[in-house]
C-alpha cells in the first residue's frame, strides 16, 4: 500500500515537473491530459484538483485548460459519488463541488474562443452536467456547443475533436445533434480528396470499432460518389455492405440501414439482381425488424424463384406462419404449408411443422377430420424424431379424440390472430423479442414480452402472459413475461403470446427463432 502511494506521489511530482517545463502549450496539454486520465480513472478527484492548484501559479498560460480539468474532475466526482453511493461526501461536499464545477467550466469557456479545443470540451462537460440533471439550461448549452463545433470545423483542419464530441452526444442519446456533427466530420474528410476505396476502408474501420452511425455516414458518401462513376460495379459492394449491417444476435449491425441498402439495390437493378443468399438475408432482416409483410413478400419470392434452394423450406414455413398469424391470410398460409408437404419423400423439421400447422388451422376451422389426418400424417412421418412437434400434435389429437376444447393459451392466440374480432392494434400493443434468435440445439434462449407502457402510476396491474407454440419441451410458465426455452431439434420455431389484463386481451405477439 505504502509503495503504491509513494509511486503515485513520484508520478505526480514527475508530471508536475514536466508540465512546468513543457516548452509548448500543445506539449503541456498532452501531459495534462495524461495526468487527468491517471487521476480520474482511479477516482482521485480531490488530489487532481490539488495537483492543478500547485501548477496554477507556475503556468498562467495554461489557466483555461486547468479550469477545464477542474470542472471535468468535479463533474466526474459528482457522478462517481452517486454511483458509488458515497453519501457522506455527496451530501456534505456536493454543493461545493457543483459550484466549483460551474465556475471553472464557465471560466474556461469565457477565457477561450471556439478555435481552441479546451473551449469545446468545457462546453461539452457543462452540457453533460446540465443534461444529467435535466436542467432547463441544457438545450441552450447544447446549441452553443454545436454552433462552436461548427465554427471550429469551418476554420480548423483538425477533425478529431468534432468526432469525439459527436461520439459523446451520441452516447448521451442526442442522436440528431450527433448526426449533425458526424455530418461535419464526414464533410471534412470527404473534402480532403480521399479516394472512394479509402472512404470504404474508413467506413469499414468505424464499423469494426462499433461506431455504426459514423460508418453509415461514410458509406453513404462512398455510395453517392460511386453512383456517379459506375452503377453496376457498385451493386456487389452494396450487397457486401448490406450483409454487414443485417440483424445479428450480438447487437452489431443496423437492420434498418441494411434494408435501406437492399432497397437501393432493388431500385438500381430490380428484384432479380439479388441472389438467393442476399434475398434470404433481406427477408430474415425484415423479419427481425418486425416488418412481417415485407418479410413474407421476400420469403414468397424465394419460394417461387428458388424451389431447390437451400433456404426453400425455411422460407416456405416462415411465409406460411406470417401469412396466417400476422397477415390473417389463411389461404396463402395453407398454400405454403401444402408446398412443403407435397413431396412425400422429404422429411425435415419444416415439413413436420407444416403438417402441424395444417392440422392446427383445420382444427381451428372446425374440420376435425382433416386436422386429425394431418396430425396422424405428422406422427407417421416423424417416426420417433422431432419430439417437440410430435408432443404438440399428440396433445391436439387428444383434444379431438376426447372432444375437448383446444388448450387454452393456444386457443386464445388463435382467437386473437385469426378470430372474427381481430384487432390489428393488439399486435402493436406488446413487444416480443428473443435472445438469441439463432440458436444451437439445446442452447438456452429467452423470449421477453413487454406490453406497451400504458401508464398506471403506482397502481400495479397483474397481466397474464399466455405462451403457446413451439416452446421447447417444457411446459410454458404461467403468467411470466419471460419464457426460457431450448430445442433439441433444428428448424424454425414459432413463439406465440397473448397478454391479458383484467379487462381482457390487450395484446398478442408472434415471433420466430431458428435452431441450426
Amino acid at each position: 500500500m505504502r509503495s503504491a502511494i509513494c509511486q503515485q506521489t513520484a508520478q505526480q511530482d514527475n508530471f508536475a515537473q514536466q508540465i512546468m517545463e513543457a516548452k509548448t502549450k500543445d506539449e503541456a496539454y498532452l501531459l495534462l491530459e495524461e495526468a487527468s486520465d491517471g487521476y480520474l480513472a482511479n477516482n482521485r478527484y480531490n488530489e487532481f484538483v490539488a495537483f492543478l492548484g500547485v501548477l496554477r501559479p507556475q503556468r498562467q498560460d495554461l489557466l483555461p485548460a486547468m479550469d477545464y480539468y477542474t470542472g471535468l474532475a468535479r463533474y466526474r466526482q459528482i457522478e462517481y459519488l452517486e454511483e458509488a453511493q458515497e453519501w457522506n461526501e455527496y451530501f456534505n461536499r456536493g454543493d461545493a463541488y457543483r459550484q466549483e464545477l460551474l465556475s471553472s467550466l464557465e471560466k474556461a469557456i469565457d477565457e477561450t474562443s471556439y478555435l481552441e479545443e479546451v473551449n469545446l470540451y468545457a462546453r461539452l462537460t457543462l452540457w453533460q452536467y446540465y443534461k444529467g440533471r435535466d436542467d432547463p439550461l441544457n438545450s441552450k448549452v447544447l446549441s452553443g456547443l454545436c454552433e462552436s463545433v461548427a465554427q471550429y470545423s469551418q476554420l480548423k483542419q483538425e477533425v478529431e475533436p468534432v468526432r469525439k464530441i459527436a461520439d459523446a452526444l451520441k452516447s448521451a442519446g442526442e442522436n440528431a445533434k450527433a448526426k449533425e456533427l458526424y455530418a461535419l466530420y464526414i464533410k471534412k474528410i470527404s473534402a480532403a480528396g480521399i479516394k472512394e476505396s479509402r472512404l470504404k476502408e474508413i467506413a469499414s474501420g468505424f464499423y469494426a470499432a462499433g461506431n455504426i452511425e459514423l460508418s453509415e455516414g461514410i458509406y453513404d458518401v462512398y455510395i453517392e460518389r460511386s453512383l456517379q462513376e459506375n452503377k453496376q460495379k457498385l451493386i456487389p459492394a452494396l450487397k457486401t455492405i448490406a450483409a454487414q449491417f443485417v440483424y445479428q444476435d450480438n447487437g452489431q449491425g443496423d437492420p434498418v440501414y441494411a434494408e435501406k441498402l437492399f432497397a437501393k439495390i432493388e431500385e438500381l437493378a430490380g428484384k432479380q439482381v439479388l441472389d438467393e443468399e442476399s434475398m434470404y438475408l433481406r427477408a430474415f432482416n425484415l423479419e427481425k425488424i418486425k416488418d412481417f409483410a415485407g418479410a413474407e413478400d421476400r420469403y414468397a419470392f424465394l419460394v417461387k424463384q428458388y424451389p431447390k434452394g437451400r433456404h426453400f423450406e425455411e422460407a416456405a414455413l416462415k411465409a406460411g406462419l406470417i401469412s396466417a398469424y400476422v397477415l390473417q391470410d389463411k389461404l396463402s398460409a395453407k398454400g405454403f404449408f401444402e408446398r412443403l408437404t407435397q413431396d412425400e419423400k422429404i422429411i425435415s423439421p419444416q415439413v413436420i411443422s407444416a403438417y402441424y400447422q395444417l392440422g392446427l388451422l383445420a382444427q381451428w376451422e372446425g374440420d376435425l377430420e382433416k386436422a386429425r389426418a394431418s396430425y396422424l400424417k405428422l406422427l407417421e412421418k416423424a417416426g420417433g424424431d422431432f419430439s417437440d412437434t410430435t408432443a404438440l400434435a399428440n396433445a391436439r389429437l387428444k383434444e379431438i379424440e376426447e372432444n375437448r376444447p383446444m388448450e387454452y393459451n393456444l386457443k386464445m392466440f388463435l382467437q386473437a390472430s385469426l378470430g372474427d374480432n381481430f384487432i390489428a392494434q393488439r399486435l402493436a400493443a406488446a413487444d416480443l423479442s428473443c435472445r438469441p434468435y439463432r440458436l444451437r440445439p439445446d442452447e438456452q434462449a429467452v423470449a421477453e414480452a413487454t406490453p406497451q407502457p400504458a401508464q398506471t402510476g403506482c397502481i400495479p396491474i397483474a397481466f397474464n402472459y399466455l405462451w403457446s407454440g413451439h416452446n421447447g419441451e417444457k411446459e410454458p410458465p404461467a403468467d411470466e413475461r419471460l419464457l426460457k426455452f431450448s430445442h433439441k431439434y433444428s428448424g424454425t420455431k414459432e413463439i406465440n403470446l397473448v397478454i391479458v389484463s383484467p379487462t381482457g386481451i390487450i395484446a398478442y405477439a408472434f415471433d420466430l427463432v431458428d435452431v441450426y
Partner: protein, 427 residues
C-alpha cells in the same frame, strides 16, 4: 383563469409595488393599490384569498393572502402501527397532527395534502385549524371522485356523476371558510381508468367503438368534462380557492386542454426518480396551466440489498426538489410554471403491503409492491420489484410509544430537505 382583467391589473400593480418597494414602503404600496383599485372601479371586489397569478412573462405563481406561496408539502395520513386506512386518526385522542405539525414546522413544511377528509366535519375542521393556527400549515383537500367505488367508477353514468358532485360540493361548502384551506384537488390518478387498464369503466357508446384509441378518447371526453363541470360548480360556491385537476403523470392532459377550461391548475402524481425530465416544458406545450406536484418521492428501502437506505431516499428527494425550484416562477431558468410540490409522505404506513391481513399491519413489511427503473439503485431486486410502499415516510415510526403516539424518527430526507429549503439558492 378565473381572474378578471381588472382584478389582474390591480393585483399586478399591487404585486409590482410590493416587490419593488419592499417593507419600508408599505404605506406607499398601500396607496398605490388603493389608487389603482379606485381607478378601475374594483374597490368593492376583493381578490380571492388563494389564487393563481399569471405573470407578464407567462410564469405562474400561487398567491395566498396577497403573497407568493411555494407549496412545500407532505401527504398526510398518520395511520398508526397495527391499523389500516380505515383507522379514524382524526379522532385519535393522542392528536398526532399536533406532534407532527411541530416537526413539520421545524422542517419548513407549510402544507399538508389530505386525499379525502373524514366523514366527521368537526374533527376535520379541528385538524385544519390546529395545524394552521399553531404552525401556519395549510391544508390541500382532495376527493377521490369515486375512483375506488365498487365495481368501478362509472363516469359515464348520470346518477354516478350526480352522487359524486353532491359529495364534492358538500365538502367544499363545509370547509371553504376555514382559513387553513389552501385549494381543492379533484381526483388523483383517475385518468388511468380512461386507458382501460385500472378500474375500467365503459358506456354503450364506448363499447360500440371498435378502435381502442377512440375508446380512450371517448372516456377522456366523458371524464374530463365531468371534472370541468365540477370545477364550474365549485367556483360558483367558493371564489377563494383554486381548483386543481388531479392527474397521474401528464397522461390525458391533451384531452383535458379541450374539456377542462375551468380548471385553475393541474396537480400531478409523478414518480420519475432523480429527475422529472422535460415535464414542465411538456405541460406548457400540452395544457398551459400551473403545476403542483401533489405526489413525488422515493422509498427508503433497498429491495436489492434488503435493508433500509435513508441516503437513497434523501438523494432522490433532494434532486427532485432542486428541479422544482428551478421551475418556480421566480427562478432564473426553467419554465416558471411550477408552484411547489407535495412529498409522499409524512410517516410510513405499515398496513400497505398486505392490506387484507390485520397481522401484517403490525409488521414493517419489506415486500415490494411495484417496479420503477427510475429508482435505479435497487432495480436489480427480484423481478425488478423495487418500490416498497410501506417505506415512503420521511419520518419513520418507532414501535415505542410516547404520549400515546408511536414515536416519530425523522429520516435523513427530513434534514436534507430542511437544509435545502433554508437555502435553495446555493444549490
Amino acid at each position: 383563469m378565473r381572474l378578471s382583467l381588472n382584478k389582474r391589473f390591480v393585483y399586478r400593480i399591487s404585486y409590482i409595488v410590493y416587490r419593488a418597494a419592499g417593507r419600508k414602503l408599505i404605506l406607499f404600496a398601500a396607496c398605490g393599490i388603493f389608487f389603482a383599485a379606485c381607478l378601475f372601479g374594483c374597490s368593492k371586489k376583493q381578490l380571492p384569498k388563494v389564487h393563481i397569478q399569471k405573470l407578464k412573462n407567462s410564469r405562474y405563481q400561487l398567491i395566498v393572502d396577497g403573497r407568493p406561496y411555494i407549496v412545500k408539502g407532505v401527504c398526510y395520513n398518520p395511520v398508526p402501527i397495527g391499523k389500516n386506512h380505515e383507522y379514524d386518526w382524526w379522532n385519535d385522542p393522542a392528536k398526532p397532527w399536533i406532534t407532527d405539525g411541530k416537526l413539520m414546522q421545524e422542517m419548513g413544511i407549510n402544507t399538508i395534502r389530505i386525499y379525502e377528509p373524514a366523514k366527521n366535519p368537526e374533527a376535520v375542521k379541528k385538524v385544519i385549524r390546529d395545524l394552521y393556527q399553531l404552525y401556519g400549515i395549510r391544508t390541500i383537500l382532495g376527493n377521490w371522485l369515486g375512483f375506488w367505488e365498487y365495481p368501478s367508477p362509472l363516469y359515464g353514468d348520470k346518477a354516478f356523476q350526480e352522487k359524486i358532485s353532491k359529495e364534492v360540493l358538500e365538502t367544499v361548502d363545509l370547509y371553504k371558510d376555514e382559513p387553513g384551506v389552501l385549494l381543492w384537488v379533484l381526483g388523483n390518478e383517475n385518468n388511468y381508468s380512461c386507458l382501460g387498464r385500472v378500474n375500467p369503466w365503459s358506456t354503450p357508446e364506448i363499447e360500440s367503438e371498435p378502435d381502442p384509441q377512440k375508446k380512450n378518447a371517448l372516456r377522456y371526453k366523458i371524464y374530463y368534462s365531468f371534472v370541468n363541470r365540477l370545477a364550474q360548480e365549485i367556483h360558483k360556491l367558493d371564489i377563494d380557492h383554486p381548483v386543481a385537476l388531479g392527474n397521474g403523470e401528464l397522461t390525458g392532459l391533451e384531452a383535458a386542454r379541450d374539456y377542462c377550461p375551468d380548471i385553475d391548475l393541474v396537480a400531478c402524481i409523478i414518480y420519475r426518480g432523480k429527475s422529472f425530465g422535460p415535464l414542465f416544458r411538456s405541460l406548457r406545450m400540452t395544457f398551459d396551466r400551473p403545476i403542483l406536484l401533489v405526489e413525488i418521492g422515493a422509498d427508503c428501502y433497498d429491495a436489492y440489498l434488503k435493508k433500509e437506505d435513508q441516503n437513497m431516499q434523501a438523494f432522490f428527494l433532494e434532486s427532485q426538489w432542486r428541479q422544482i425550484y428551478e421551475n418556480l416562477a421566480d427562478a432564473q431558468k426553467g419554465e416558471g410554471n411550477c408552484i411547489g410540490a407535495v412529498t409522499f409522505e409524512w410517516t410510513d404506513e405499515w398496513w400497505k403491503h398486505n392490506e387484507y391481513s390485520a397481522e401484517g399491519w403490525n409488521v414493517h413489511d419489506t415486500g415490494s409492491n411495484w417496479s420503477s427503473g427510475s429508482y435505479y439503485f435497487d432495480i436489480k431486486a427480484e423481478n425488478n420489484m423495487n418500490m416498497n410502499e410501506e417505506w415512503f415516510g420521511i419520518v419513520a415510526l418507532s414501535e415505542e410509544k410516547v404520549n400515546g403516539l408511536y414515536k416519530r424518527i425523522p429520516r435523513k430526507a427530513y434534514y436534507v430537505l430542511r437544509d435545502f429549503w433554508k437555502n435553495p439558492a446555493k444549490n
